[in-house]
């Protein structure tokens, strides 16, 4: 682009200096040509894949009661509600058990493929279709965790989440010959790439904004509550039968005035402040770490492991790239060992 003085003047005709790009042109080039947050997209994909995979496996024994032919929320009841809400579910196409089992197990497969990043875009579509289908078959058994998986499953269709840390990326790296110069890309192909990149960038904005909305809403509505104001709010969920798998632990946590007060006020401050700390990297990262820690505690104390896993997966979109790359490098030897262990039997000589 910008010619330097050391460049040999090989061509006889002098090169017409290109005008410096305008601000709009720079923004346009970035929007159409730069895939922002590819590591964050990948880690969100892996996180939600794991959360939903874990949930589907945990509920496998109960799958027919929750979403299938044995559900108290019968196909008739479901169809009546769906005709009013028009929610999308392929499970309304047939009440048969075979169709339900197919969709549920396709859901498990899609979640696994999301974790691995195999044919990521197609897997993301299958993931979204199965998540929506199962959840909309019975919206009355979900909680906040299901809600966030539902939304993110749709948003993940938009983004290029398979560029790193995926089987797709590994396949592309193998195919590409580093010695060969990059082949020139035809314009039709280039337009397609630019469209996909623009869609990705919009998708990442939506994912990030959605996470901000979650925390802002949770925080600002708490500010109005008298229990959050008097600092005793935390005491109450710790005494609800439906959210105390470990009553001794809950009682211990809620028995201290200081702990209850600090955690109640800390939660509100954390949630209200979070969107504003995005302007400051260090502060944002510190708050993010606190939020992830709080969700880990919620997973155990309130008995909401899949809700917490989904919220942590959503938080990951704000992790700094440098940190993600470092974690990725640390994981590489472990991944190599795992691959070697899995392949070991195949390398053994066949027994006579």
């Amino acid at each position: 682009m910008s010619g330097t003085a050391t460049e040999p003047a090989a061509d006889a005709a002098p090169v017409r200096p290109e005008p410096a790009p305008t601000r709009f042109e720079r923004l346009f080039d970035a929007f159409t040509g730069t895939v922002f947050g590819r590591h964050q997209a990948a880690v969100v994909r892996i996180g939600f894949g794991l959360a939903w995979l874990g949930f589907l496996l945990r509920e496998w024994p109960n799958r027919r009661v929750l979403y299938g032919d044995r559900s108290p929320w019968s196909a008739d009841l479901s169809d009546t509600l769906l005709s009013a809400t028009h929610a999308f579910t392929v499970l309304s196409w047939s009440d048969g058990r075979l169709w339900f089992e197919t969709v549920y197990h396709l859901g498990i497969l899609a979640a696994l493929l999301m974790v691995l990043g195999w044919r990521t875009r197609a897997s993301a579509v299958l993931f979204a279709v199965t998540v929506l289908s199962l959840q909309n078959r019975n919206v009355l058994v979900g909680d906040g965790g299901d809600n966030v998986v539902h939304l993110m499953a749709m948003y993940l269709v938009l983004v290029r989440s398979g560029l790193v840390w995926s089987l797709d990326a590994r396949r592309r790296a193998r195919r590409a010959d580093p010695a060969a110069p990059a082949a020139p890309v035809g314009e039709l192909r280039a337009v397609r790439d630019a469209l996909v990149t623009m869609l990705h960038n919009c998708g990442m904005v939506i994912i990030a904004a959605q996470v901000v909305l979650i925390y802002s809403t949770a925080g600002w509505y708490k500010v109005q509550g008298s229990r959050w104001q008097d600092g005793t709010a935390l005491h109450y969920p710790l005494r609800l039968d439906y959210f105390t798998p470990w009553p001794e632990l809950s009682a211990l946590l809620g028995s201290s005035l200081l702990v209850t007060f600090v955690l109640s006020y800390g939660t509100v401050i954390l949630q209200v402040a979070f969107p504003f700390t995005l302007a400051n990297r260090r502060l944002k990262n510190a708050l993010l770490a606190l939020m992830i820690a709080e969700h880990c505690a919620i997973a155990v104390v309130l008995g909401l492991p899949f809700f917490s896993l989904a919220m942590i997966a959503a938080d990951l979109v704000f992790l700094p790239t440098a940190f993600l790359v470092r974690v990725g490098t640390l994981c590489r030897p472990a991944a190599g060992r795992l691959r070697a262990a899995v392949r070991l039997p195949a390398t053994r000589p066949p027994s006579p």
Binding site: S74, V141, L195, C202, S216, A218, Y236, G303
Partner: protein, 209 residues
Amino acid sequence: MRTWSIPALTVLCLSGAGMIGGTAILLGALFLHNAPSNALSQEYRQQLDGLVYPEFEQNWKLFAPNPLQQNITVDARVQTIADDGEVHTRDWVGLSVQDAAAIRHNPAPSHVDQNMLRRAWDFYESSHPAEDGAVPGQRGKLAEEYLKRIALQRFGRTAGGERILQIQFRSAAKAVPPPAWSTEEPGESTPYKELPWWPVNEDDYRGLL
């Protein structure tokens, strides 16, 4: 960066503007959906609902403005008929007590135990107006059938060897006492409220057992 031809540039600019516009509209709608009801969201209620429902619906008022401060208990009992035609009313069975027992010491409670009955009861309450004699709407009927089927899945077809004829629910709310260091009076507990008996037909069992 690449130099684009005019047709390519046109395609990119138009679709780029469309995507940015779509993103802005979606995020604006989600903001208004999450914000308290306000002048703008009331003015555009219809368009807003059309975009947000059903797939973008969300509720992040988690434990807000105040956390739930009552343990809600749901019990059910059945009437059975013996072969000689005699009708027996059976004892109350604590359905939420069963849930609590399944959740206790379980690191990953199932939605069946943690959400099904709890949310079905919420659905029933929200679809049944408080005043007596009010006729429930379509959602109310769905809620009744759902609640009945959740209980019947646990009872089975018979109780004490006799066929189930009718089922009845009752519910109470027990206030969580304030913390030990607080001087506050405990919140309001409500005594058991009994629902009418509902007949049980073979249809109610479809697919359940």
